[in-house]
Symmetry: C2
Subunit: 369 residues, 2 copies
């Protein structure tokens, strides 16, 4: 391939510009924790820097989060003329997944979701088919996750959001029914097993790259994948909702030592835990056809692909030795393919992907202040 490989900076997302803000914001946020004391409430300090925030209120552990879809709706907009479908039912599921799949990492049962649908103008809401698909998809995802859709906000923000576009986000509130279910990583240890749950495709991370790639494809989103599907259509396979899996694990008495939602930063997210551990992966999940296609046509190597895309692993559980096989069984009984993929070792913080002879060092993931 004569073209230079695509990467995230080429695709317009420069984390080096965002990270200083994140650190400043995290420090300021942390300084506000003392405000809770006057209400007789306390935070669970270890939840800061984790994927959801946890407070203890009158013996009830409340988890909350706000998450963004990203730019995936732009793919739906571009693919609609090709397939004749709006795909906003899938987009709705993606948006809810961004919130609930993070919320469950701390051991929470999601209870409610709020919608944030911020359009580039009131006319966005006048497209009846798209509007119905968005509402129906949102409702269905709530039903799958057994959460109540508590409300939302549907502003029309011409001049802030691009004309004809929509900025989608979701916030979610949940509870952690008992302290024993609080999953913040304190029990993680040498010998723990790593179980990876299958993704359905790109989910909603790496989408800038996937969109940028279209400029290189003669048939754009209508390009055929190896399995005969269209690139655009496969990109829009909705993100797996992992809530039924975590609920089933808890029902079976299995409390992971840690969980990670594999989103931005791809497999580097496997070392999300704050401790010093090596994550040694011996088994790779099947790579969704659409992700192989992206890797090939973007001309990126395995290091770049696994470092930015989920490559078939949408969620990771870290469980005590001997428990991994049961986790796999439970996930697969719910239709979510899973792999006992590796183990945790005390030592240098890194992700070692043995079948690919790849290692991500600790300094390749910056998520905490």
């Amino acid at each position: 391939m004569s073209q230079k490989p695509l990467d995230y900076t080429a695709a317009g997302v420069d984390y080096s510009k965002i990270d200083p803000l994140k650190i400043l914001a995290q420090q300021a946020a942390s300084s506000t924790r003392g405000n809770l004391a006057s209400h007789g409430v306390s935070e669970i300090p270890a939840s800061r820097g984790e994927s959801a925030y946890v407070m203890e209120v009158g013996g009830v552990l409340i988890a909350s989060i706000t998450e963004c879809l990203g730019t995936k709706a732009l793919v739906a907009d571009a693919v609609r003329p090709i397939t004749g479908k709006t795909h906003y039912d899938a987009i709705a599921q993606d948006t809810i997944a961004m919130a609930v799949n993070d919320l469950i990492t701390v051991g929470a049962t999601p209870l409610s979701v709020h919608a944030y649908w911020s359009a580039g103008g009131s006319e966005w809401f006048a497209d009846e088919q798209r509007m119905r698909d968005l509402v129906a998809g949102w409702q269905k995802a709530c039903d799958v996750c057994k959460v109540s859709w508590g409300g939302g906000e549907t502003p029309a923000l011409a001049g802030v959001v691009e004309a004809g576009r929509i900025d989608l986000a979701a916030s979610s509130v949940g509870i952690i029914p008992s302290r024993e279910r609080l999953t913040l990583g304190d029990k993680m240890g040498d010998g723990d097993e790593i179980v990876l749950l299958a993704s359905s495709g790109i989910h909603a991370n790496g989408v800038s790259l996937a969109r940028k790639l279209v400029e290189r494809l003669p048939d754009g989103y209508a390009s055929k994948l190896a399995d005969g599907r269209l690139y655009g259509e496969a990109l829009l396979d909705p993100t797996v909702l992992y809530v039924p899996v975590t609920e089933a694990l808890f029902a079976a008495g299995i409390v992971p030592h840690y969980s990670a939602n594999i989103t931005g930063h791809g497999w580097r997210k496997i070392m999300r835990h704050g401790g010093n551990f090596t994550y040694r992966i011996h088994t790779l999940p099947d790579v969704p056809t659409v992700l192989s296609f992206i890797q090939h046509h973007a001309g990126i190597d395995d290091r770049e692909a696994y470092g930015s895309l989920n490559m078939g692993a949408g969620f990771a559980f870290y469980v005590k030795a001997g428990q991994g096989a049961e986790v796999v069984r439970i996930a697969e009984s719910l239709g979510v393919k899973a792999w006992l993929a590796g183990r945790v070792e005390a030592g240098t913080k890194q992700v070692v992907i043995e079948p690919l002879s790849l290692t991500y060092a600790a300094d390749e993931l910056h998520l905490r202040a």
Copy 2:
């Protein structure tokens, strides 16, 4: 004035296009309430359609909400070259106010806030002064409201959010410490007193109109108001955070029969309660200079002005007869000017503003499915 008066449709917000979506979404959302039963959780049904959603979890009443700033950040962007200030500290306060001022209407004590800062590109975050102001303002508003800043999301969404712009929102979680404090309007009755709390200016509603008006002003945002301040600067006076007032009321044993946050739809919001009541206003708050200026230069009459802007009233309490004076005293002890402004009467649903000989009929406010 020779020009046609400005109104909301002229300013680009057409609620008739958004309302069908809102109704469809509210119906779908309501249908998901049954999902809570499997968790041993229930919703407070009367909170649907109110400003915040309330669930009962193990005896704890949890309120939650997600709210949007709107387009006010565009004013800050335009005024910065004139004043040399970013004004994003004020913008941060506005955004938090949108969430917490709604949350408190149901009787909640806000506990945590999540930030949603969705920028048009990573370069938005590289402006260090603006970034520091946004973070500092957010932190300060959290401290005033005694809430913990639990986390947030700072995506860069080129192609969704306009280049150089930011879509700001906040979600908040709170508790209602006792059932007696749950304020959903069931105690509202004939003879209740209406107390209005002063706004600081436009807050964050009516901003599209205020921005549109600039096209008519030779000096734009640098236009001088009657008090000598600049139009743009006065528009950016941050929204009052009413949380200290509601907390002080509860501490004094005063539980309003209902509360309304006066936002979009201006004084029509005074009849937000679902029942059949006439809201008879006998005393008008002082109108902030910037709002008089807008009314005058936009060429809109009192019906349009009070029907879309807060006109000096940022929040309304409905309290039992005889309690209004004490509410005024408590608010003013906290530096928030207040007026015992009217009374509730059983009968036709309408807002009657006696000093202006103005009446808004029930069908002029559509907020519920």
